[in-house]
């Protein structure tokens, strides 16, 4: 199977290690990965902040770049959520029937990494080894927009050596919310405070998630508090194998 990797501008720029890990996991499972270099940003930040006319060219670009692929995979629940749930609204706003038809045709083939692995490929054991105490924040868009369900947890359960511990009140938002984190910084921080408290309750050394935007928020708070807990994207856990750890 040949897929296109939709890296997302955020991961491309700030978290290249997540992209490398995603490629590694997919290739290990025999998936051929292509990375169309013409991709930039899906337009989520613009669209969700209200700059929707400005987001329309980005929507068009995304559709043009990815429409001929059998499947598109991204290590981000919220960017996939933008494509699957909000591109139809963007096409309506653009008043472009052709774009709307292209969106309708393409969007069911755009997957978040964990749902692609578990629901599309039917794999839960990707051969990973990760000897650490890990908790998992499921992220709102993966959970409620994409409904990935327990796909990430199934993948983590199959990781060898892992000491997985459930996060209390896991379904509650961490308070990131894109530009919300800056526009309503006080409320965002109040929400983060409770999320951090729950992460610390688990006594995990790693807080994982399927979205680096939420992790940057949670991780930024943990770092500021010198909490001694690191944030790691799910893809990076899945990419780690026993062979890599041996010298």
């Amino acid at each position: 199977m040949r897929i296109a990797l939709f890296i997302t501008c955020f991961n491309d720029t700030l978290f290249p290690e997540t992209g490398r890990a995603t490629v590694e996991v997919l290739e290990r499972l025999g998936v051929e990965v292509d990375f169309p270099l013409e991709q930039t940003c899906c337009g989520q930040m613009h669209f969700n902040t209200g700059y929707q006319r400005e987001a329309i060219p980005l929507v068009r670009r995304f559709v043009e770049v990815f429409k001929n692929y059998e499947a598109v995979v991204a290590p981000s629940g919220s960017c996939v959520g933008m494509v699957r749930e909000l591109y139809p609204m963007a096409a309506d706003l653009a008043n472009d029937k052709r774009l709307a038809a292209d969106v309708e045709e393409l969007s069911p083939r755009v997957f978040e990494l964990s749902e692609f692995l578990v629901k599309k490929l039917g794999v839960t054991d990707v051969g990973a080894y990760y000897p650490h105490r890990v908790t998992y924040h499921p992220t709102c868009h993966s959970l409620r927009m994409l409904k990935v369900g327990d796909a990430p947890l199934k993948l983590l359960e199959a990781v060898r050596g892992i000491d997985f511990v459930e996060l209390p009140e896991a379904r509650e938002c961490c308070g990131f919310g894109g530009t919300f984190a800056v526009k309503n910084a006080d409320t965002s921080i109040a929400m983060l405070g409770d999320k951090l408290r729950h992460v610390l309750e688990t006594e995990a050394e790693v807080c994982a998630a399927g979205d680096n935007s939420c992790l940057m928020h949670i991780g930024g708070g943990l770092k500021r508090q010198r909490a001694g807990v690191r944030t790691v994207h799910l893809a990076e856990i899945l990419a780690t194998t026993e062979e890599k750890i041996k010298p």
Partner: protein, 497 residues
Amino acid sequence: MTIEAPDAFSGGKTPHFEESARESLADSQLRRNLGKATQTIRNKRAVAVEEMPDWEQLREAGRALKSRTLRHLDEYLLQLEESVKQAGGQVHWARDGEEANRIIAGIAKSHDAGEVVKVKSIATDETKLNEYLKREGIEAFETDLAELIIQLAGETSSHILVPAIHKNRSEIRELFMQKLGVEDLSDDPPDLTNAARLYLREKFLKAKVGISGANFAVAETGTVCVVESEGNGRMCTTLPPVLVTLMGIEKIIPAWQDYEVFMQLLPRSSTAERMNPYTTFWTGVSEGDGPQEFHLVLLDNGRTEVLDDEIGRQTLNCIRCSACLNVCPVYERTGGHAYNSVYPGPIGAILTPQLVGIGKSGSDSLPYASSLCGACYEVCPVKINIPEVLIHLRGRVVRHKQDEGGLRGKLDPENVAMRAMAKTFSEPRLYEGAQKAARIGQWPLARSGAIHRLPGRLAGWTDARDLKPIPEQTFREWWRSRNGSGTHSGTRSGEGS
């Protein structure tokens, strides 16, 4: 929030959500009271909903009924008017709050009523009826326990269903001792209720006019319905000889049979009850029983404007259950007063700006009072896609600023930055250039692997969070170098995390 403070419906300028939220967030007693109350209600609701095997079908039925009604609202309203008249009631149409208040005050005056008793009603809060009546020399007494509490405290409601949710029982005890002149009072809920009961009984028996809102009204029969938990509503709608009901035009349902759906959805979603304790129905007037004069005032006040918006109109499906407030992580922490509106929480964030109109800076900030986590949509019994409407309204707010805000709107720093970024993202060449520029530009900020302080508005981020600097190599640079060295596929050791 005191009753004198301006809100979205009182005209005048209201503060932005983020400013009001900052104040509420700092109130530790409020945080504790709200955190405890919302958590209790939402857990109970989850249990009450869990036991319904057909909950999802019920939600869909509720949504479908409401949207069909709104599609034919004009016909159903005329049918309702006819049915109410047939049953001996009178119907009045009010374009806005001012007109509604004038009609209601006129009815009270025609009966020489110096006092009226009220059932809990958000529609009358929306029109500021109590304040209007006061100016006309008529005193309105709230009879719902929570409404009474906030009326005595001179405050406004902070929750759709539990107006005094921001107060705990010891605060209520102190208030009753001060305002009701009760000397010996514990903070036991039965004691507090009893104190309120003694005070209210006299009002019920004296009042010539009762005023209510409406949860539903059936077009086919003209039957109006109030759903409540205390019985005070039953007293207000049966004891005084004259009854006036103020109802938003979207509260209509076509047929009696439709109650089957809503009477299952509403109690479980709002109070987590299987069956509602006091459900009062009345159809016009009945000779020798209950009020002998009934007036139904139908309120528009911006609702037909909402109906005109294809995405926004689902907001009018709302049956005021308040489940969205109880699950909202923003509401749970800021409380209702931060929204500066009689409609707080997620539903308020989409209803208020639509009712008062886009272009008022205070209420324009409300659609941004959300992290778009989607918890509200998940629990809404009539499936209002609140996140979708929030995003849609953010678009309307920005387009209004850009198109009607003149030079100031165009030069707004956020607008300039967003447009520049959109331009950058539209071209891979510009985008890659910006990645490189940002990597170089961040050096004065990045200290020992973290950014501790950002300039300008972005400082909101670094107030409590470090920021990860942009690493040496972007993903696409890695991809290019990897393909250049001839390894396109297959597992490579030493790469990855």
